[in-house]
Structures are given as C-alpha cells and as structure tokens.
Symmetry: C2
Subunit: 537 residues, 2 copies
C-alpha cells in the first residue's frame, strides 16, 4: 500500500495483504497498519488499484471501512475480482467502484493529483501502472510488470505512453524490482504453451496442470492447446473456478470450441480426453493438487499413466511443501513435469534487461525500487546506475518511511507509525506480536501448568500441586518425571507458603514457577513455558 | 543408515542424523530408529562410515552404545571428526576406531562381508564409497560423490577401482541421486576459487566468506588466494575453528605461508589485509554470519566498503533464513555476493552425466537410488534406463524397507519397525509424535487453561473458574472476552457441578472443556487448545 499526499489531498495506490512467514505462527493474513490515516479518510481522493493479485487487493475487505467514502479505481477485471471480495465482506453496497479502460487514455482527477493508468503485462490480465502528475512533478509507478511482446491476450506494456512520460519528464520512478536477480529478459508466457503442446502430444493418460488461479493467460493456453489435442478441460479448486467464471463473464477468457466441462462430468471422460487445471501449485495442503496427491480428493485420483505438470515456481518459503506434493505424485506412479525437468513456468516480473528498458523509456530524475527485499533493491540500484542514474538519486525505502519529493530532491525524511496487523480467525488486530511470541515459545518446548489451592486464611496448601502439560513430554511415558516435579515443588513450598498470606498471590506464583522451572531444566535441559496458578479457597 | 545382513553377520554403513523439518517443532535432531537391531549388537561386524558429514556420522554419539562392541571403520579425517563427537559424549574410550587408507586398497573382513573402500570426491576430504563382496554378489555403494578432475586436494573418485568392479560384475549399485535434477556435470570446486580471485582483486575493505564448516577444500582455496592478494585469514564460528584445527593436525589443510591468524588478532589488521571465513551460510540465527549481519557479534562488525561472499546454496527449507541474512548485510551497506550474482558455490554431488558415468563404469545388474526424495529417485530412474538398466531392475526403497538380494533378484520383501527418534534438549526419544502434534496445535491458536476448585464432599465450586491463556489473545486487551468466558462457564456448570461427586472428575473436566471451547469458537472462530482442570479441596 502506497500513500501519496499533497496538502489536504491524498491518494492510495493498492491495498494488499501478505501471507504470514514461518515465524508468524497461527496467523492467517497480515494487513498493513493504516493508523497514520486514522480520522483522515475524507482526505482520500481515490484508491487506485494496479491489478487483482492478493498482495494488491487482498486487504480491501478489511480496511475499506476505514478508507470510505473514497472511490476505488481499477480496470474491469480487477474491479470484478474486488467486487467478489467486498461481497463476501458485505461491503459491496457501500463501495464506490469506478472502472477505467487504460486504452482510452483516461486522466483521472484526484484532488492535487492527475492519475494516468497505462497498460502493463503481468501474470494476471488487465494490469496497469500509473503516471501520476503532482504539483512537484510526475511520478511513474510501474506496478508489477514485464515486457512480453507475444503476450497471450495481445495486450502489451504501453511503450508509447512510457516513452511520452520520459519525453515530458519523470521526477520519480517507483519500479518493480523483485525479479532483478534474473539476467536478461523474462521469457514470454507463450513458451509455457510450447511445453504444454509437447507434453500433451506424448501423454497417454489424464493430464493435470497445477498453476496460479489468477494466471488467466495460462488457462487460456490450456484451453487452446487441449482443443488441438482433442481434450476437454475441467477446473478444480474454488479460486480457479471463481476466476475462470469471472474472466469468462467479463470477456478475459474465451472458450470458442466449448472444451471447458464441469468437474463432475469430467469423471466419465476417457483418460486421454481430459485435462484438469487444479489449484495447489504452491503445495497448499488443502488445495486440489495436495488432496489428489494424498489420495483424498473427493472426485479425482492420480496414478500410473497420468501426467502432472506443476506449472509454477515455488514462492520462497514454500519449497518444502511443493516438493512434498511432487514426491507424493511420483510415489503414486504419475509422470511429474516440474521446474527442474522442463520450462513449465515463467515469471510475471521484469528481469534485469526489462528493468533497464523501463529506466531508459522513462528517464527518471530519481528512482525508488518497490516491493522487493533489501537484496533486490541493492541489485536494482546496480541496474539503475548502469542506466545513468546517479547513486544519490536512488532511494531505498521501507514500510513506514515518509518520503518527501520536491522539484529539487527526493528523500526519506521521517518514519510514521506503521507495521502489520494480523488476521486470525474472525479477529483482526487482536493477535499481536506478544501472542505470536508466546506461540513460538509454546512451539519450541511446550508448556507446563502447575496449580495449587491455598486456604486464604491460613496460607495452607489444601490441594495440589497438580500439573498439566502439553508439547513438553509424553505424559504417560514421563509419569515419573511429573511425579518427581510435584514432590519437588511441594517440598520447596513447604506445607505453608512462607510468604502467604502476608505477601500476595503473585509472590507465591513466582515461587511456584521458579521451583518448577529450575527442577525441569536440571532434569531435561529444556525450558517449557511454566504457568503457575494459585487458587484461593 | 544402511544395514546389510547375511546369516548371523551384519554390517552398518553410516550412522547419520537429520535436522528437523518445519513441522517438527522444537526438536533439535532426528535420529534413525534402530529398534530392529536391539539385542543383536554382537552380530554387527563393523560400522563403515563413508565420510564426515552430519548426515553420515551425527547419530554415532547417541546410538553407539547400542551398537557396541562393533568397531568403526573410516578414513583418518572422518575418524578424527568422529572422535571429537564421541569425546563430547564421553564414549571415546569405549569406541573401537579403525582407520583405513583407501589408496592402499584394503579389503576389510567383516563376517560374511568383504569391504573395499574406494576414494570419491565430495564436499569434504577423505570421502569414500564401498565395494562390498557378499555371498550373493558384489554391492557397490557410491556414498555421496561427484567426479571432479581438478579437485583441490588432487584426490579423485577412483575410476580404476569402479571400472574393475564393473569388469568383475556388480550385482547391485546403491547410488547417490540427490543432485539428479541438475543437467550435465557438476562444476569443479576450482571454479569457486576463480570467483574468489576476481572478488579479492576488486575488494577494498574486509572480505567475509560464509561457507560450510566441513568444506575444507574451499577453506584451502581461501588460504591460497588470500596469500596471493596479501591478506590474512581468520576463522569465526566454533564448528569451523574445530574443523580447521583437526584438518591441519591431520594434514588435510595446509597453510605454508602462515596466513591463518587468530580471530582476536585479526581485529587489529587493516581492512584490506584480512579475510574472515565464517559459519552461518544457511542463515542459522546463532552462527557468526547472522550475528555479524545483526550487528551483535562480539568481535566483528560489517559495513560500507566490506564484501560478503555467501558461498553456499540454501538447503531447501532454509531459503527464507538465508535471504533474511543477505538482506540485513545489504542493509548494513556491504557488497554481498551470492548465488544469484555469481558462481560462489558448487555442489558436492554428481549431476546427471556423472550419475550416468557411475552406471557406465560399474554396469550393475540392479540399482537402488539412495538418500534422495521420491522425485530424485524417479528422475534417477530415467538416467538408469538411458544407461540400459531394465526398468524392473530399478528399486525405490524407503526407510524401513527390507530388501532381499539373491543372485537372481533384488526386491523389497518386507518392512521393519523403523522411523525416527527425536532429540530434544538432553532427552533422546522421550519427545515423540504426540508431543510434536501438541506443539503444532499450541503454535496455531495457543492454549487456554480453565480451573475450578470443587469441594470433594458437596460438589460445590469453591473457587474459579480461573483462566490462564498464552498464544491465544492479548491478555490485557482481551479482558472482556476472558471475563465473559468465565461467566459463561460458571453459568453453564451451575453452583454445583451436576454430575459431581456422583460422577468423576473426568466428566466435570469434559463439561468445562466443552463449555469453554464452544463459547470461544462462537466469539473468535478460533480453537485454542482448551485444558480443563478440577482441583478437589
């Protein structure tokens, strides 16, 4: 999420979410913290969305109430995907959705800003970047992009507009940089189709293709190639089914020969007449591909004679999960085609030469790489310097950085409150870093609760210590350890808690915790979370 | 760990451990389960170790007591590394360590087996494979290997011996397969030195090189190249310091010009006169590289002008941790050279062409790919079939499979009790799958304990319900929820527990748990682990 401010006017660009990393235990989703905007939503002149991926639209159902009444501007497909989300959150009737068509060269007025969307190629149709005219000069925000001169839908990154921006002057370029580690030029989506064509020609049994649900261009290729090879196509997995439906309704996916069939009907087709497009290319345990690999999908099995194409690269952190599924598929006897064997996926992001071309077209005074990790920014700076950008006209910014742009300079001048808000179950923002830290401690060594009941008059221990433990030791097999722990605690405390009732429950709790922790560490060299409890009766 | 049995004789090959995967929460190490061998250690004629990596020697300190009095056979360096481990476990005086030199072509008698070690190149010096003559024919076990014709120590995989085995007949080849996804031939270790040479020539400030502690050949290259560029070398990190010491003592690492210096002394060297070789290339949070990147290493800092070479490929599952460290180093202003930028690491394992060459040299009747995941085995089978091995002479085996080899056939005929034993703190085998499953549940939604004290005569609730929760909600910010939960539980139970004392404490516990769980799920859509406790007073 990017916020641009000038005087009393501001605009928001994109409103995405992140998925938790492996340390954010139990968290479902991670949202941006927008407390900086609190109470100022009336100043927001518009929310401009570059494309329909989760990391660009996913936070809208959670944050839109705090951004209203600002209108949301996006292309038709992007708005269609947003509408589904807002409907699920019962926000659709409150939202002000405004479609634009970048091919008509609209200039959208938004207070002090004039926003010109321009088409870019990315791994979802109808993606755009934004040229944003401000009183301090023009900003060009590339959005997520690549240059694909043979793109499947025939729509390409708008060279002419970028060239024009360059001719007129670009004060600041905010550029995609996540694929900068890749030399040269990202291959065209079309090369994946060439692999499909080859695999389809050889495959005897059923074909499964797992890919991203939003990669409509790839699904289009499956439809076209399946038709050439006399196969029908069935789609498995909720997000794929939804996206295929929306894309067909809005005209972004065409099936002129009617090869798409219902999953239910597909079961009766001969093996060599069907292709399944399935979710789960990232190894998600509940998605179609994992279920099929584990043999617990309701409708479909996989086995000897079948071919599975895992048409995606693992997102960093997902490698183990992806390979677990691939291993299972091999074990089931399927022929599995994946990245290490063939060209089954291309990125939707620009490689180094394309990032350079973007710089050459727009010729900005200043650049800020966006969305990447720090190593991507550093490598992007190499590209920018090669393109003639002086090193001091390259800024690395982090979430929460406040960047000031004048006609003279661009620089990070302050930081604002920012960070993350966790979504966990129905609760948004209630699970914070303290809770997650506790989860990490529980995950490491488990917990052990030790309870005593104490007479509130005399301080005598009338029941306990009792112990409850989980995630620490096997309870049945460790009965001796737990009995010894109880005895030790009892002995340490004495019949009467020394400091009780003169002191408070807290000090007795502390004694309980310390006695237990010390004993267990001595016995096991581990440090479960010790939770002491004193009940007064 | 591989076990070969004939009649009353058996031999063990390798005795390694695994590191826990991301689902084995809080576990330190994973050992093989050797219950199949229990009570039969007197039948073990020898433990043959192929090389000194953790996944081949790491379980010895834990399992050796159950394998004694069997002697351990290994090369000198491997035995040196084993001795350090056994000393730490106070087992050194009990162990029977027997060194062999593969260049002298020993044939080691071990009951029904005659074991001929042969030299292989791998990413640790002094690695071997084994030709094992058995009454049912010869087995060749490649160990972890590559073919490197320009290896740093001048010692190469023993083509001649492999060729001789092939000429004499190989009944079964057990082959490394983990790098089969790589086409062609794994580059020589020497190319990494070429990169170092280039980087050293350009670097102005300090140079840090992070690599595997056992990659002695690489450390040798650093020493040689540092000398050419007028730099001294200091080693940081316990495992590196130990391995460098042992390798020097045993003559596997040479420092003819005395460039190695103590880490303490290095601090006083000018920046352009020092190279640090450091641990932590896998992003391990407590290792030297992470500490340096985080700015909390005791002796060394990193900053603008310094160059860091991360000379390793992330082991699958470690990507996020590795990139986190790389990002931090860039943030600190260092120039970071890693896999995406230059050739800074080569594998120690054979690529497809080398696996093929091994097959061509040994010409086995039957092959079993070893150590790989199922996808590696499947891709290895492609290579074997290309090499002329019939598909039904390729067996995929898993941990616990019992394979029968006769002069007619090789096949999996049964499974034995096997699996994993977890090491957690001082305890070996006490933390099992149940405990780990509890840790996963605790990590997902936390826990909530609800306690009541009950009069054992009347069944009246005399104290509580009290609640203790961790990892579920922020306790201070969720006071209202916890108060409401207590009230709800109290109301549900009534003043007197219905079934109490006629029924048992268990049924009251169950009521407590169910009432609490239902209320919390309704309020939050989450399912923390509910632990009920009834204290009788």
């Amino acid at each position: 999420m990017l916020l641009l401010e000038y005087g009393e006017d501001c605009i928001v660009v994109d409103c995405g979410l992140a998925f938790p990393d492996e340390e954010q235990l139990g968290i479902d989703l991670v949202l941006p913290d927008i407390s900086y905007l609190r109470g100022r939503s009336h100043q927001i002149r518009g929310i401009f969305i570059s494309h329909g991926h989760e990391d660009h639209i996913g936070a809208l159902p959670y944050l839109l109430p705090d951004l209203l009444p600002a209108p949301i501007f996006a292309t038709r497909l992007t708005l269609g995907l947003i509408a589904v989300k807002l409907e699920g959150a019962r926000l659709l009737d409150k939202a002000d959705l405004r479609a634009f068509d970048p091919d008509r060269h609209p200039v959208l007025a938004a207070g002090a800003f004039a926003v010109e969307p321009f088409r870019v190629t990315h791994s979802i149709p109808d993606a755009v970047g934004f040229g944003i005219q401000t009183p301090a000069g023009r900003i060009v925000l590339t959005g997520d992009f690549k240059f694909d001169d043979t793109s499947i839908d025939g729509r390409m990154t708008d060279y002419a507009r970028l060239q024009r921006f360059g001719d007129e002057g670009v004060r600041l370029l905010l550029s995609d940089c996540v694929h900068v580690e890749s030399e040269g030029h990202t291959p065209s989506e079309r090369v994946v189709g060439e692999t499909y064509d080859r695999v389809f020609a050889e495959a005897g049994g059923r074909i499964f293709i797992a890919t991203f649900a939003s990669l409509i261009a790839r699904i289009q290729q499956v439809i076209d190639i399946a038709h050439r090879h006399g196969r029908s196509v069935a789609v498995l997995g909720r997000s794929l089914v939804n996206n295929v439906r929306i894309s067909q309704e809005l005209g972004y996916l065409s099936d002129p020969h009617g090869v798409l069939v219902e999953a239910g009907a597909a079961a009766s087709f001969p093996d060599e007449r069907i292709v399944y497009v399935v979710t789960g290319a990232q190894g998600e345990p509940m998605a179609a591909l994992s279920r099929i690999a584990n043999g617990d999908h309701r409708d479909v099995t996989v086995g000897v004679g079948d071919t599975v194409i895992v048409s995606a690269a693992p997102i960093p952190g997902n490698e183990t999960a992806v390979f677990r599924v691939i291993n299972k598929l091999f074990q089931a006897g399927a022929e599995v085609i994946f990245g290490a064997r063939d060209l089954v996926h291309v990125s939707g992001h620009a490689s180094r030469d394309e990032l350079r071309r973007m710089l050459d077209l727009t010729r900005p005074c200043h650049v800020i790489p966006m969305h990447g990790e720090h190593r991507h920014m550093a490598l992007y700076a190499d590209v920018a310097i090669e393109a003639g950008i002086p090193a001091d006209e390259i800024t690395f910014a982090e979430n929460g950085d406040l960047i000031e742009m004048t006609s003279e300079k661009v620089a990070v001048t302050a930081r604002v409150d920012s960070g993350y808000v966790y979504v966990d179950g129905m609760t948004v923002g209630e699970v914070g870093d303290v809770v997650v830290r506790d989860r990490r401690a529980l995950a490491r060594d488990g917990m052990l609760l030790v309870v005593v009941s104490v007479d509130r008059e005399t301080g005598q221990i009338v029941a306990g210590p009792e112990i409850v433990t989980r995630g620490f030791v096997h309870i049945k097999e460790s009965a001796a350890l737990l009995t010894a722990t109880k005895a030790h605690v009892r002995e340490t405390l004495g019949d009467y808690a020394d400091s009780y009732p003169t002191a408070d429950r807290d000090s007795l709790s502390r004694q309980l915790r310390e006695a237990t922790a010390a004993f267990l560490f001595k016995e096991t060299r581990r440090r479960p979370m010790i939770l002491p409890m004193v009940l007064e009766v």
